[in-house]
């Protein structure tokens, strides 16, 4: 509701961005506030920025229309954080998992803000079936994945995974880097 109102009053960008936080809005019960940004709890490090990949930009208009029509343009995504805690969110089709995480107060790093230059947005797709539904990573994504901590067979970069209907129900784990780094005796490659 909030979304359609915002987009109707002529803030297509704000509207599109707000859609991503709809789940969160429900959770904290601030739905209806025009400036729901104000009510966001303080995610720590990342709130100053919202990341718009080109792909997402180009779908903005289309998803703004369909958001009015119904729910099918949002998918359910579960993030499992470093402590194993689960967070269920709704993500509009076309949005990257990095953006979705940040709009929902989920601590996923993103040092290069989705420019494919840092590998800190590393997520592990917990189900191989879902992993197989994703397009193959590009060489460039693989190059950055090379440097990700705790890389697994189903690792991807959160800024490169874009919500699409087939991904409805996907579960993404944020690797517990500290454990890898310090406790397990795992010595990360220096690169």
């Amino acid at each position: 509701m909030l979304i359609s109102r915002l987009s109707r009053v002529g803030f297509p960008i704000i509207g599109a961005l707000s859609r991503g936080i709809s789940a969160h809005v429900c959770r904290t019960g601030c739905a209806g506030s025009t400036y729901c940004q104000r009510h966001w709890p303080e995610t720590w490090w990342f709130q100053g920025a919202i990341y718009q990949r080109n792909r997402y930009c180009s779908t903005t208009a289309a998803s703004a229309d369909s958001a009015d029509k119904g729910e099918q343009q949002e998918i359910s995504v579960t993030f499992v954080d470093k402590d194993g805690e689960e967070k269920h969110i709704k993500v509009p089709v076309g949005m990257s998992m990095l953006e979705a995480a940040h709009q929902n107060d989920i601590e996923l790093e993103g040092a290069c803000e989705g420019s494919l230059a840092c590998s800190t947005c590393h997520v592990i797709v917990m189900d191989i079936e879902y992993y197989n539904k994703l397009e193959e990573p590009t060489d460039e994504e693989n190059d950055m994945l090379d440097l990700a901590f705790g890389l697994t067979e189903t690792s991807r970069l959160g800024c490169q995974v874009i919500a699409k209907p087939e991904l409805d129900g996907v579960r993404l784990a944020i690797p517990a880097a500290t454990r890898n780094f310090a406790v397990d005796g795992y010595v990360p490659k220096p690169h």
Binding site: R38, E42, A111, T120, D139, D146, N180, F181
Partner: protein, 487 residues
């Protein structure tokens, strides 16, 4: 691209509400990635922490500003995140303050409950071979600081005009960075934040051939795929790789099986070796990967100018020393590689400050998970109370920006444990003057420190100057100018 909104204020204002009467006083020495990640994690984990970051430059961000190549603007985006940390209500930046001269380590430990040293590695490893101090031989660090406009290296003026060939010793990512800067068309560099003096130097450069010399083989090269792919893709560049060097012994196969980066790097190199054209176009520049070779000594030119004229290289072979690890051993066979410039890119090295335990062999501060130890014995009983390390000073000079994030998590976890166990916080000494004390001390010594607000003035001035020539910024490279713009 990124769209910003002003919600950063949310977590900034939170700081106001939570500063306690008796804050945990924290000082972090360095504003590079290790320093900023530590600050961020300390502020987040400890609502009572007040964090001061000092840096000897008036400009923050360490190697993100002075190391990361000018043609990698996307890597520098992390500066946005660091700036948000610096602007946190409980965080202060003190630029132009040098640990060791403006303030001593002992003084900082008196002023603060927690001191985290993360001042990186600002010296070089040496080869220790004859001729290393000939003219025309530089460390990659100096060359990088020159093209990135570090105020202390603006006058390096490497002579790029009197030779066609340069040798780079080492095959890590820094070596690829400097090779790329030497070989990339300067028109592509002109729209970056490369320093003006470096751009003009490179525009006049006569260097057409660069030899990247590594003591081991293509399987063991230290660079990573992204950087290799980029250099291989430079316009009008011929790549030279000896096919014989691509031979894989069983031990190499073993290494490749276990390491994804090595495997992908090796594949890229193999592809480049076979796709290169056999006829060299004389207009094109050349990058030669020279494997299994190590410098034995540098050759001096005949004109007694004291200038380098080449490198006497010894061929090497690999010898397995433990599973998955092969080292280079000498063969007694030599060859000369004529060149008029050498860049040594064999790694950076940290330098100790007075009163800091230091492992001179490894070039790091002895520590257990970031807790500084009194000596190199590794005995946890010898932890220095309230003193921690992070980043290159803690681990040695390897790792990308993100590595420092995990490194900072580890150090901050140690600090948190020590706080919980009352090691840092229980005694009467927990009341420390912190920021006020530092202010006092710096003002008594007439040290003119640069705040983050003042850095933003420098930042704006650099951006203003850059905008006329479509560059993201034109870096200020004189100390006087930097300090003037800060006021």
């Amino acid at each position: 691209m990124a769209i910003y909104r002003a919600v950063g204020r949310n977590w900034l204002t939170r700081g106001l509400l939570t500063i306690s009467n008796n804050p945990l006083r924290v000082c972090i020495v360095d504003s590079g990635p290790a320093g900023f990640y530590t600050a961020e994690k300390m502020l987040k984990a400890h609502q009572e922490a007040e964090v001061d970051i000092i840096d000897w430059l008036p400009t923050p961000f360490g190697l993100v500003r002075s190391g990361v190549a000018p043609d990698h603007p996307e890597t520098k985006i992390v500066i946005n995140q660091f700036s948000r940390v610096a602007k946190h209500e409980r965080c202060s930046f003190f630029g132009n303050v040098t640990l060791g001269s403006s303030v001593s380590l002992g003084e900082l430990r008196e002023l603060y409950n927690v001191v985290v040293l993360a001042y990186g590695a600002e010296s070089d490893r040496f080869l220790g071979i004859p001729g290393e101090d000939l003219k025309g031989i530089y460390s990659a660090r100096e060359f990088v600081w020159w093209y990135n406009g570090h105020p202390d290296f603006k006058n390096l003026n490497p002579d790029l005009k009197s030779t066609e060939s340069a040798v780079i010793v080492g095959q890590g990512n820094v070596a690829l960075d400097v090779a790329r800067i030497l070989l990339r068309p300067t028109a592509e560099l002109a729209t970056t934040d490369i320093s003006k003096h470096a751009l003009s130097g490179l525009e006049e450069s006569s260097i057409r051939k660069v030899y990247l010399v590594g003591r081991r083989g293509p399987v063991q090269a230290a660079f990573t795929t992204r950087e290799l792919r980029e250099v291989l893709g430079i316009k009008n560049l011929n790549i030279g790789i000896q096919e014989a060097d691509l031979y894989r012994a069983p031990a190499d196969e073993e290494e490749l099986k276990k390491n994804r980066i090595q495997k992908r790097v090796y594949e890229l190199l193999s592809r480049a070796a076979t796709s290169g054209s056999s006829e060299l176009n004389p207009c094109q520049r050349e990058l030669h990967f020279v494997f299994f070779s190590k410098p034995d000594r540098f050759l001096e030119s005949d004109d007694s100018s004291g200038h380098v004229a080449g490198v006497h290289l010894e061929k090497t072979v690999l010898k397995g020393v433990s599973p998955g690890k092969q080292i280079a051993v000498d063969t007694g066979q030599f060859e000369d590689r004529p060149c008029g410039m050498v860049l040594k890119s064999i790694g950076y090295k940290s330098v100790p400050v007075d009163g800091l335990p230091f492992d001179h062999q490894k070039g790091v501060v002895p520590n257990i998970r970031g807790r500084v130890l009194g000596n190199t014995s590794g005995d946890p009983a010898l932890c220095e109370n309230g003193l921690y390390v992070c980043g290159w000073l803690k681990r040695g000079p390897t790792g990308i920006i993100a590595t420092n994030l995990y490194c900072a998590e580890e150090t901050v976890a140690s600090i948190s444990e020590d706080l919980e166990q009352g090691v840092l916080w229980s005694s009467s000494s927990s009341l420390k003057p912190g920021r006020e004390g530092l202010h006092q001390l710096l003002s008594n010594r007439n040290v003119r420190f640069v705040t983050f607000n003042e850095w933003e003035k420098i930042d704006n001035e650099e951006k203003r100057r850059g905008s006329s020539s479509s560059e993201p910024r034109e870096k200020l490279i004189c100390w006087e100018e930097l300090l003037k713009s800060a006021t």
